[in-house]
């Protein structure tokens, strides 16, 4: 009997260990990127950070890269054709391809997938919350690219890739700093909630919601480099409105990928912790621990992203 119980417990612990292992593996990927070709002209030079790479390329990896290249080249061709007035019916194709490009593009490291994974690991959420978070983050990510280009377009006679890249790096730093603060707030609230669970209610709901929303907004508040390049391309052809529409569709595509990450995390977490509903103390402690680790991972993940800025101060 004891052996059977131990065996059952071991199976449960194994699930947690697997989950934790993959969480750590995921956290180690997706460092922010900057264009290595560009020389920063500003005096307070922002360091160029590097990104974690795959341990080894696979045929599937090559295919994914090839798909992105072909999609972007085709999008560029269609922009040119519409600009030249050759094929106005290609507009629908452009929107469709932009959607697919966003979907595929968001599969790569970055785009805060790990943050979403950690975030939904740290809280019990409903599926619609996952979809809302993924969608909000995606449209912020694409929307920030549109805003930054519009601002530069209004201020400068000629918007250059170097200008936008430098501004993007600075925004990344401020976004990460805000994310760190909201992450610390969220983590503190989690700890207080777990400690006070049986005594009295934790921090006010409003404060918790502020922290949660702050994490999502701070995460998305950096321009997507892929969207920036599409917008600059459209600007070079004087079809910025069309570029903005394409980035909207691209954001929708990214929203599908990011929402999928959120929803699968929420559903999987529920599946893994479903046995905790039996209110067995041992598993409840594990449930709380994993939630706190999830919140902690948001902080760790943000610090990882901030590391290049700390190692290479301006």
């Amino acid at each position: 009997m004891t052996i059977t119980r131990f065996s059952r417990n071991f199976q449960h612990i194994k699930r947690y260990l697997i989950l934790f292992f993959f969480l750590l593996a995921a956290v180690s990927s997706g460092i922010p990127q900057q264009n290595p070709f560009l020389t920063d002209q500003q005096e307070n030079k922002v360091p160029v950070s590097r990104t974690a790479a795959p341990l080894k390329a696979t045929p599937f990896f090559d295919t994914l890269v090839e798909i992105q290249k072909n999609l972007r080249d085709t999008i560029a061709d269609i922009f040119s054709r519409i600009h030249d007035g050759e094929d106005r019916s290609a507009l629908f194709v452009l929107m469709g391809l932009s959607f697919v490009y966003g979907l595929v593009h968001a599969l790569g490291p970055g785009h805060r997938k790990v943050m979403l994974f950690s975030y939904f690991l740290s809280k019990d959420a409903k599926i619609y919350e996952g979809i809302a978070a993924g969608t909000l983050l995606s449209f912020l990510h694409g929307g920030m690219a549109v805003i930054i280009i519009l601002i530069f377009h209004a201020l400068l006679s000629r918007v250059t890739l170097t200008d936008v890249d430098s501004a993007g790096a600075r925004m990344e730093f401020y976004s990460l700093t805000a994310l760190l603060l909201f992450g610390l707030l969220f983590f503190s609230i989690k700890i207080i909630e777990k400690v006070r669970k049986k005594q009295n209610p934790g921090p006010k709901k409003g404060l918790r919601r502020t922290a949660q929303l702050g994490i999502i907004i701070a995460s998305g508040s950096i321009p997507c480099p892929g969207a920036v390049m599409i917008l600059l391309f459209s600007l070079s052809l004087s079809v910025l409105k069309l570029g903005a529409a394409a980035v909207g569709m691209m954001s929708l595509g990214m929203a599908v990928t990011l929402s999928a990450v959120s929803v699968v995390t929420i559903v999987s977490k529920k599946a893994v912790f479903s046995f905790a509903e039996r209110k067995e103390r041992f598993f409840t402690i594990f449930h709380d621990t994993i939630e706190i680790i999830g919140a902690l991972c948001i902080i760790i993940f943000t610090l990882f992203f901030l590391l290049p800025y700390m190692y290479n101060p301006a």
Partner: protein, 218 residues
């Protein structure tokens, strides 16, 4: 929801996280061609020609073809070099040469130029590398690889060419060398200089495709 479905979803999550961890995120694409430059039985170096994707092409034209005449003047090429090329010195110009298991990268390059070839932007520059070929040399390896994965490098159908190779026969294959990883610091900044051939604390490994070249003197 059935237990089986829950298990499937959980596995999907794990697969997704593995996928997310394993795949890179390029924003810029280039096709690379290499021209080995010989003099008699000596390799003097090689020209690199990088053809970029259409979007990056448009960016560079927009930023540096100031008079919009569709070509780059000397002054415009100078601007491209200073603003959208020279920063690659912090990235070994993406260029790695391996000879007798010793890896080398250029600290500087020369004769940079850029031009449009069928509306596609091409960077061309020369990497000096001296190698006397007295006997057959096997396993001379060339790799063009952006360790930041911002740039996806592809080799075309025929990426290797020769110049003045009258007295040298050149053959090559392309493959990943699984015994020879490229180490890099994922948190390194612009001043970061890592010996890519040696493992170290905090360094990650990558396995890019290499051109494995055989040089045979006549």
């Amino acid at each position: 929801m059935s237990n089986t479905l829950k298990k499937i979803l959980f596995c999907l999550l794990l697969a997704l996280i593995i996928t997310v961890s394993a795949f890179s995120h390029p924003h810029l694409f280039l096709d690379c061609e290499i021209f080995l430059n010989f003099k008699d039985k000596e390799l003097q170096g090689f020209w690199l020609e990088w053809s970029f994707d259409k979007v990056f092409t448009a960016m560079i034209i927009n930023d540096y073809d100031i008079n919009s005449d569709g070509t780059f003047s000397e002054a415009e090429i100078h601007d491209v070099h200073d603003n959208a090329f020279i920063n690659l010195e912090n990235y070994h110009y993406f260029t790695f040469v391996t000879m007798k298991e010793k890896r080398w990268s250029p600290k500087s390059v020369s004769n940079f130029t850029c031009y449009l070839k069928d509306t596609i932007l091409v960077y061309r520059f020369f990497v000096s590398y001296s190698l006397e070929i007295k006997d057959k040399i096997e396993n001379f390896r060339l790799t063009i690889f952006d360790e930041t994965y911002f740039t996806a490098v592809a080799y075309g159908e025929k990426p290797l060419h020769t110049i003045h190779a009258d007295r040298i026969k050149v053959s090559y294959t392309i493959s990943e060398n699984k015994d020879n990883p490229y180490y890099y610091d994922p948190y390194g900044g612009v001043n970061d200089v890592v010996d890519s051939s040696k493992p170290g604390p905090g360094l990650l490994a990558a396995y890019p495709e290499e051109l494995i070249i055989t040089l045979t003197p006549d």
